[in-house]
Amino acid sequence: MPFKIPDANEYDKYAVVMKGIVKKFPKVLANDNVDLYVKKGEIHAIVGENGAGKSTLMNQLYGLYNADSGTILIDGEAKDISNPRDAINVGIGMVHQHFMLVGPLTVAENIVLGNEPLVSSENKFLNSLARTADLFSLKKARKEVKRISDEYGLEVDVDAKIEDLPVGTQQRVEILKTLYRGAEILILDEPTAVLTPQETEELFVVLRNLQKAGKTVIFITHKLNEVISVSNNVTVMRLGKVTGRIPTNETSPKELANMMVGREVLLRVKKDVHMPKEVVLDVDELSVKDNRHLMAVDKISFKLRKGEILGIAGVAGNGQTELIESIAGLRKSESGKVTLKDVDITSSAPREIRELGLSHIAEDRFKYAMVKEFSVAYNIALGRHYRAPFASSGLLKGKDIDEISKKLIKQYDVRPQEIHIEGGSLSGGNQQKMVVAREIDYEPDCMLVAQPTRGLDIGAIEFIHKTMVELRDNDVGILLVSMELEEIFSLSDRIMVMYEGRFMGEVKPDEISLEEIGLMMAGSTLNEVRGISDEK
């Protein structure tokens, strides 16, 4: 039975109805006449690519943005939600991608923050005294939080400090916070982006518990397997419009992907067969710890050859970041060995590694790949600012820096074509092109490429994909890390799936399906996956 768009007289069965929502930003039409129907007590997924308008839509429901036009009905009644307080008052709670918690405070303190229970007493005088002084009652707060956490099966230690808790638990605290404020409708914005697979599983259990307790859950994601495993209905968005509504049990990841991306199902870059050459990067039993001092990369070994793209697929937070940073010399390894062009670079400094012919498009553009206060020209010089052609005997060669930068931003179509503006004033896509231009101009033999197209528009993605395939054809060895399976599939010559710091197996992109990779990303080995496939 296809998704049924309700008539106006059925709206009271719907927790949320959003009709004709239009939201314009200076340069984009973020929501173009969007309708959303969420039944009471269901888990409703909103899927779409980056920039499809999912978060914008939800931020309007939560009152963070105000729609240019359109109406919002909660339980069939039109509501005017112009700020989060209004949203909370009509029973809407939202858990953002970035948590809004106070690190040094305890779980209980965080949950009641903004709505703290006060000390009360049997004695009238003491009571009025406590009231006047606004005395906070930690005892009541703990009791109340415990009650809610028991009621919905969200286990937390109410006395633990937030900063000591893992991300998954912090998210649980955020959910409890919305429940404490009386939320009947919970919005979760990309809740699994920061979670490990186990934490994701635990979150899904929590969501089902909430559903049993009669709550309505809306969650935003672009991971299709999650949609299938937890939601009742799906709304698909693309470029600000709704492109599909369907009950989850009648669809497949494949169909959802089509609706998400549009008619030209997969944006695949043209790629010819290319024979890889000699090994350029050899990683042997490498182990690396993360910031929490937990083992993030656990004895990983692989060889990368010149002229091939080796893709590493996996859910964010399974050690990919630490692996790349360790190879680039930005993070110490615990054990193992990294060899670049027959030179041991295991404990080399980033500059030595770069000079040997390894360049690196960093995952976090703002943190690592650029100095946003520097001009475009200075950003192009980063990493080679001390040597030819950008400097000689310690002096910067301003003219050469300018000339080379001008040439590069023209070649890579960085806009605006102006080298003396701050790097940070460029748009995301143009910043990334600037970084790509610089890292390719190194003329590397080996390139670490992490999340090269995150947050970019289709045009920039296509350009960067094309560039990477050209590099491969010019015998550069590329190690590609991406959370976007499509990207991994369309670019890689070989794919390794990373899960909890280990490789679950190596596959060729044309010999495996999206679903099988998905299972490996969730912790099944290749053999296990193949076993399941055979039974079908």
């Binding site: 690592y368 520097f374 980063l382 002096l395 910067l396």
Partner: protein
């Protein structure tokens, strides 16, 4: 970026005007008589101040004497800011520089001037540099915040200096001061007028500013310092050794402060009084702020503050309390630090938003 540069220059200038305007209102309020008389009073106050700062050759020389250490401590703090370190220990580095330089200069009796002076300066700069590098090292290796460590080092320097001039390095008079330095180590005078002598110190300070400007804008080292200051992660990613740069920046910053102390010893007092600095190290923070961490800007900021201070004495003779100058200085800093306010006043904010 061009637009940006203009804003950077405009902000301190506008701030100075606003500060003078506010000070005028205060002077009008504290004046006596009718409005006309009050305006005359205001006119006298400012004209006396300008006369006191620039009106005669000795006034001008006094202004330059005041601005010399300010340029150097301003450079010290400003250079540190560029690498993202907040050196508030210029005071202590100045003291250590002056102490070491004076010890060397007192004993340099056998050396000819062309050796004694440069070596005294090098010793003073080294002492200041090493003193600051301690804080740099602690930050780079243990993460100890330089604001804390440099303040602590200020106190240590203060007590070492005090102990030195009252004990082993006392001139025998019993008052806390060192013996006079060897004549060969005294900086020659550039100018003299009546009882005022102006040494070559100002030339050295301006050369220091030019050198720092050159380092910051024309060298790979300056590039690294700025990259570390803006974004240490990106710097490391670009193959820049962040620890090394933090220590180096602190050392250079401290050497500049040490130079300030040295010049006071060998160009002004010819001995060391233990507590010479009287806050010039901290003034460096204000100077760096007003000069927007730009070496050339710092020279002008020092001229401004040096001039205000010299002029304030004269102004006091006209019956205007010299604290007016402190008020003016504070308002300038307040406005420069809160540059957004000035930008809003200039309506530049909106322009910038258009891009």
């Amino acid at each position: 970026m061009k637009n940006n540069k203009w804003i950077k220059i405009l902000i301190p200038i506008v701030s100075v005007f606003i500060a003078l305007l506010v000070a005028s209102i205060i002077i009008l309020i504290i004046g006596e008589g009718d409005l006309g008389q009050r305006f005359v009073f205001l006119g006298t106050a400012y004209s006396e101040m300008i006369r006191g700062a620039f009106g005669s050759s000795s006034a001008l020389m006094n202004t330059i004497i005041k601005m010399t250490p300010l340029i150097l401590t301003g450079l010290a703090v400003g250079f540190g800011f560029r690498a993202g370190v907040f050196n508030i220990g210029a005071e202590g580095q100045m003291t250590m520089g002056a102490l070491a330089a004076t010890i060397f200069a007192v004993n340099a009796t056998q050396l000819p001037s062309f050796i004694a002076i440069p070596f005294t300066i090098i010793v003073g700069m080294l002492a200041g540099g090493i003193w600051a590098a301690i804080a740099g090292f602690l930050k780079a290796k243990t993460g100890a915040h330089e604001v804390i460590t440099t303040i602590m080092l200020n106190w240590i320097a203060y007590n070492i200096a005090n102990w030195a001039v009252t004990g082993p390095f006392n001139d025998g008079s019993g008052t806390p001061k060192s013996p006079e330095i060897a004549e060969s180590a005294m900086l020659p005078n550039l100018l003299s007028s009546q009882a005022t002598f102006l040494s070559f110190g100002i030339v050295i300070a301006i050369i220091a500013a030019i050198v720092i400007y050159f380092i910051l804008y024309k060298t790979s080292m300056g590039y690294e310092v700025k990259a570390v200051g803006f974004n240490p992660y990106a710097a490391e990613y670009g193959g820049i050794n962040v620890s090394k740069n933090i220590i180096l920046t602190m050392a250079i910053s401290g050497a500049l402060a040490g130079l300030a102390g040295t010049l006071e010893s060998i160009g002004l007092y010819y001995r060391f009084y233990g507590t010479l600095s009287s806050g010039k190290g901290f003034d460096g923070i204000s100077i760096a702020l007003i000069g927007q961490n730009n070496p050339i800007g710092i020279i002008f900021a020092s001229l401004l503050i040096g001039g205000l201070r010299t002029g304030s004495n004269q102004m006091q003779f006209a019956g205007v309390p010299k604290h007016i100058v402190t008020i003016i200085q504070s308002i300038i800093i307040f406005l420069v630090a809160g540059e957004r306010m000035v930008m809003t006043l200039l309506r530049l904010n909106k322009k910038k938003g258009v891009k």
